[in-house]
């Protein structure tokens, strides 16, 4: 065994089990999907079309709306969802273990239900005539509206749903990260006379960066790919106010039968995701060790 192999083989051996399935069943299809973007891919014939599919992506006005909606949705969801999770984890941290367990369970519980069911429940909550939300508003004398039928409120309503229902697992993760912060770090800061705010930004945030990075990156990627709730609740409507990139991809690939074009649409989404993730890694990705 050469020096190079000896130096590296330990790492590769640890990667081997996960990467063998990853390469075959994940990376190959992903590369396939990338390649599809440059073809007119039909079941009976395949022809190379260069950048044609991309030209068609950019000449599709719905794709522009979908990109805008997707970015708005992602920013809204990630900011509020993570903010909520941070707030809750932070409030929970000094509480007794029993209370922590209770609240964490409560916040986690909605995660046990599938997204489709959550969407069905929220369809009822948003129902204009007999939904929970409008019933609640009416007790305050406010006349509700068709939340998902109004292009001005539909996307916001979906964001609100995602933020309220989401966050269970991120709270658990953030809580664990907070509990791992060495107590001495606090004590030093307190001795220095730091305020709560300073402790939070100067002590806590830097120390939970690895978890934050994971949450921000995976949250962004997952939210960028929102599909299920759109499919169940609005089908992209009203008036395309909630059409998202992946919903558009679904229509292109599986309703219009244009798999190459759908891949090109996905690559546009990919570039956006990649740029954001790169920024996030730069911002939060510094190696941290306690």
């Amino acid at each position: 065994m050469g020096r190079w192999a000896r130096a590296n083989v330990r790492g590769y051996l640890f990667l081997l089990p996960q990467f063998s399935v990853f390469f075959v069943f994940f990376l190959i299809p992903v590369i396939g999907a990338f390649a599809l973007a440059f073809f007119d891919y039909r079941p009976t014939r395949v022809s190379f079309v260069g950048l044609d599919n991309f030209r068609r992506v950019f000449s599709d006005p719905l794709m522009g709306i979908a990109l805008r909606n997707t970015v708005l949705f992602t920013v809204g969801v990630v900011v509020f969802w993570l903010g909520k999770a941070m707030l809750i984890a932070y409030l929970l941290d000094p509480l007794s273990k029993r209370l922590q367990t209770f609240y964490k369970s409560a916040f986690y519980l909605p995660s046990v239900t599938s997204g489709v069911i959550i969407s069905l429940i929220w369809l009822w909550i948003f129902n204009p005539t007999f939904g929970l939300l409008n019933a609640a508003l009416r007790t305050f004398g406010i006349e509700g509206i068709a939340w998902l039928g109004n292009p001005n409120t539909a996307l916001g309503a979906l964001i609100a749903m995602q933020v309220i229902m989401g966050g269970g697992s991120s709270i658990v993760l953030l809580s664990a990260a907070l509990a791992r912060i060495p107590r001495e770090m606090y004590e030093v800061a307190i001795l220095d006379g730091a305020s709560r705010g300073i402790v939070f930004t100067q002590v806590i945030v830097p120390l939970i960066k690895p978890v934050l990075l994971y949450l921000v990156v995976t949250g962004t990627i997952n939210t960028f790919q929102v599909f299920e709730s759109i499919y169940v609740m609005t089908q992209g409507g009203p008036q395309f106010a909630t059409i998202t990139v992946v919903y558009r991809i679904y229509q292109t690939a599986f309703q219009q039968f244009q798999i190459g074009l759908a891949s090109a649409q996905a690559i546009v989404l990919f570039v956006l995701t990649f740029a954001l993730a790169a920024v996030q890694f730069r911002w939060l990705g510094k190696h941290v060790e306690y």
Partner: protein
């Protein structure tokens, strides 16, 4: 100066070891905020369970009932009497358990390698992993299914499960967990003559059980609720998973909301069991004392 014993309230509510303890009024405020946010999260779920126990009726009560006035089990009976229901549960269980066990183990190993073992191409391989999840599943579905078809795995457990074993996010998560462990721990074990596997198994995994439990839970939940891939990858009714079966049931009764919610409640039970079985590991971060040893 004698320290006063904290009041019963403070002992019940506040972590006595926490360096930044809130005042009693602050704790009440904390609990208030948490309760409001918690209620918002739980109301939809509560309504799901209540509806599951409510006699089916289209005449939705307005305002909604907080407690079913005449609770019934007939919605559950309708779900459970479905032929093949047990087979669906078995298939979903096999799929979710196999994927979860494999993912937790192999993603931890890979995460450890990325976090603590220097090797050529480490950074590059990690980025391949992260980048690969940036294409939505809808676009890789067709290439993936072509692959499974070429391998002759359509409608087999292997074809159903193998593609689910890859977990880029799992590797990412475990890397993030493991990278915060002090490297001295591993170095001192290495000095003591432990090999890399022993270090991983005896030193690293005990310190990241909460991370592994977390990964296990989210993996299990994700697999249990999976719909599209099991639908596409399987063909015979004996291979059908629970979620696919339940979607079929809901479509046969599109307006029978009580049935939908009973099916969702039943489907959630295994997850709740797994959750409470593992919450000991899952909900509590490991204490720092253990790390610092």
């Amino acid at each position: 100066m004698a320290t006063r014993r904290p009041s019963l309230f403070r002992r019940a509510v506040i972590d006595p070891d926490h360096p930044v303890k809130p005042s009693s009024a602050g704790a009440v405020l904390f609990i208030g905020i948490l309760s409001v946010l918690g209620l918002m999260t739980l109301v939809p779920l509560y309504w799901m369970v209540v509806t599951a126990f409510t006699p089916p009726t289209l005449a939705v009560r307005f305002p909604p009932e907080l407690w079913p006035s005449s609770p019934t089990l007939r919605n559950f009976a309708a779900v459970l009497s479905r032929p093949m229901f047990v087979q669906w549960v078995i298939n979903s269980t096999i799929m979710a358990v196999v994927v979860t066990v494999f993912t937790v183990l192999t993603a931890s190993m890979a995460g450890y390698a990325f976090a603590k073992i220097p090797f050529a191409g480490s950074k590059w391989l990690f980025w391949v992993l992260i980048i690969s999840v940036m294409l939505p599943f809808e676009t890789i579905l067709v290439p993936l299914f072509i692959l499974i078809t070429r391998m002759g795995l359509v409608d087999t457990y292997a074809g159903l499960i193998l593609p689910l074993l890859a977990s880029p996010f799992g590797v990412f998560l475990m890397k993030q967990f493991i990278q915060t462990l002090p490297s001295e721990l591993m170095d001192s074990a290495r000095v003591d003559g432990a090999n890399e596997w022993q270090i991983f198994w005896h030193v690293v995994t005990p310190l990241v059980t909460s991370g592994m439990a977390f990964l296990g839970i989210i993996t299990f939940v994700a697999q249990w609720n999976l719909f599209l891939w099991p639908l596409v990858a399987t063909r015979s009714s004996g291979m059908r998973t629970l979620q696919v079966g339940l979607v079929l049931m809901r479509e046969e009764e599109p307006m029978y909301f009580g049935l939908h919610m009973a099916s969702a409640t039943l489907a959630a039970i295994p997850i709740i069991i797994v959750f409470f079985a593992f919450q000991r590991y899952f909900l509590r971060g490991i204490t720092v004392g253990a790390v610092k040893g």
